[in-house]
Amino acid sequence: MSDLRAAGGPEPLAGWRWWTGLAVGGAVGLVGLTGLLADAAKTMPVVWLEWLVGLVLVHDLVLAPLVNLAGRRLRDRAPEAWRWPLQLGLVTSGVLVLASVPVLVGVGRRTQPGNASVLPGDHPLALAVVLAVVWLGVLALGTWDLRRRHRTAPPPDRRGAGAEEVPAAPDPPAR
């Protein structure tokens, strides 16, 4: 982690802009927190906090490491021409699947059993079709890129000799 420590470091938090921002933002946030606590019977602050912290943990300990791992694998293993199409496909598919969880679970139908306009249609099938279209696009983009590379300069080896080879990682952003 020495690279992170050396990465320019965060800006020193000082000056009127930071303290004004802290005062104003803190006040606005406090209004929200006070409102939430004052309405505790409806907002259920303990359950709310469980959700809030739970979501942070799920993101930081499950989702982000998984995405990070997938990104590493993609960079290390995928042939140069396929990295970008695969990245596009994986990011788009992941987002589509995550965002569709509520309609896929379909719990909403039970709130109004007689109302056929709530979550109409077959969402799992629809998602499958949408993902198929996305991956056809990935295939088309990868094939096109591969042909373009063959036309311009056939690389001596499949990996690492592409025209768009990138140098080593730069420093991560300061926080």
Binding site: G29, V56, L88, P102, G108, G114, L119, P170
Partner: protein, 373 residues
């Protein structure tokens, strides 16, 4: 050693671009959300206009679909700064500790808004707390945390966005652009298959949205059906009358036949108006009924009065208050017909309110009274 985070796509510039995008999307969500709250619980100084007809539909559509688009953008932004979670030492002084602690309500609150928002529009209330109030107060908490975060990051943001980025482009410029394009593609794909529940040109593509335009009784989605509103048994009552009262000189009690006669006469009116649900879906439909303005004049109501309409439904959204602009709008009707046929019970039979630029929850169904305030 911590995990390996090396990726040329991670850079200050990536984070800055995505941070600005998240800020804009959340900003739109905040403004449109506050507007929707003001419309539904108007303070004395606030008068929501009834024109243009599409204003609420657009405002609420932007609220929900900026939220939807924010999902990939926020996740990408978080990915770009994820290595900082493992930064050592974790804090360097009091100010830095405050700044880092502020990330918890910012990140947790933002995720909470998006996750519960997506669940709410799919009618999945899997949390127990009241969605509207919690969404509202959490939005303030996130806004406050965002102001603190921005005041800490403004120098970095300026540095990252300023000038030509020859050096930054040389190192990982292509990968960065590709990562940003992938994020944009994900947001675009998600909008393409959901936004058609509100944005009519995309209606055929809205295969992953909780609602579909044109799908529902009489070609229009039903937000709440008569059975779940608890009014199904009350709609066949031959003794049903619509009471017109309050601050009027000639109170009336109108049967369905009385209303139909008025619809056939000069008080009758027809218009294409949208139902615009707070949950984001919206659709225009053809409505026909009795113009409320004419009915108020017939009853001798004062010119600039607010009007409350009440439903046979109890609890929930059983009544709504129309401000004078909405009550007197020439298109505001007590509707008896939808798309050329009498209202289905689930659409509000015998009579419902339909007014321009009005949230769907305020287009009260199954009316029993009109009271001039």
């Amino acid at each position: 050693m911590g995990p390996n985070f090396a990726s040329p796509a991670r850079s200050e510039r990536t984070t800055a671009v995505l941070g600005v995008a998240v800020g804009v999307l959340f900003g739109v969500c905040l403004l449109t959300g506050l507007l929707s709250h003001l419309i539904q619980q108007p303070p004395g100084w606030f008068d929501w206009p009834s024109r243009p007809v599409w204003l609420y539909r657009w405002s609420q559509g932007l609220h929900v679909f900026c939220g939807v688009a924010a999902i990939p953008v926020l996740l990408a932004k978080l990915w770009s700064v994820y290595p900082n979670l493992y930064r050592w030492p974790p804090v360097r002084g009091v100010a830095h500790a405050i700044e880092r602690a502020g990330i918890v309500p910012l990140l947790g609150g933002a995720l909470l808004l998006l996750v519960t928002g997506m669940m709410n529009i799919a009618y999945w209330y899997g949390w127990g707390f009241d969605f509207i109030r919690t969404h509202y107060w959490t939005a303030w908490i996130v806004t406050g945390a965002l102001v603190v975060h921005l005041s800490a990051k403004l120098p970095v943001l300026r540095r990252a966005l300023a000038g030509r980025h020859a050096a930054a482009d040389a190192v990982g410029g292509l990968e960065r652009r590709r990562f940003l394009v992938a994020t944009g593609a994900a947001a675009g794909a998600l909008l393409l298959v959901t936004a058609g529940e509100a944005f009519t040109p995309l209606r055929r593509l809205a295969v992953l949205s909780p609602r579909r335009q044109g799908v529902g009784l009489q070609g229009l989605p039903v937000n709440k059906d008569a059975a779940s509103a608890g009014v199904a048994g009350k709609l066949d009552d031959p003794g049903w009358r619509l009471a017109v009262g309050g601050r009027v000189t000639r109170p009336a009690s109108l049967s369905l036949t009385d209303l139909q006669a008025r619809m056939a006469g000069p008080m009758g009116h027809a218009a294409r108006l949208p139902i615009a649900c707070v949950e984001g879906w919206s659709q225009e439909a053809h409505w026909r009924g009795v113009r409320l303005r004419d009915l108020l004049e017939e009853a001798g109501a004062p010119a600039a009065a607010a009007v409350r309409v009440r439903s046979l439904q109890r609890g929930g959204y059983s009544s709504s208050l129309l401000n004078p602009a909405h009550a007197r709008d020439p298109d505001t009707m007590l509707a008896l017909e939808l798309n050329g046929a009498p209202l289905h019970p689930d659409h509000g039979f015998p009579v419902r309110l339909i007014a321009p630029s009005n949230p769907g929850v305020m287009q009260t169904k199954w009316l029993e009274s009109v009271t001039v305030q």
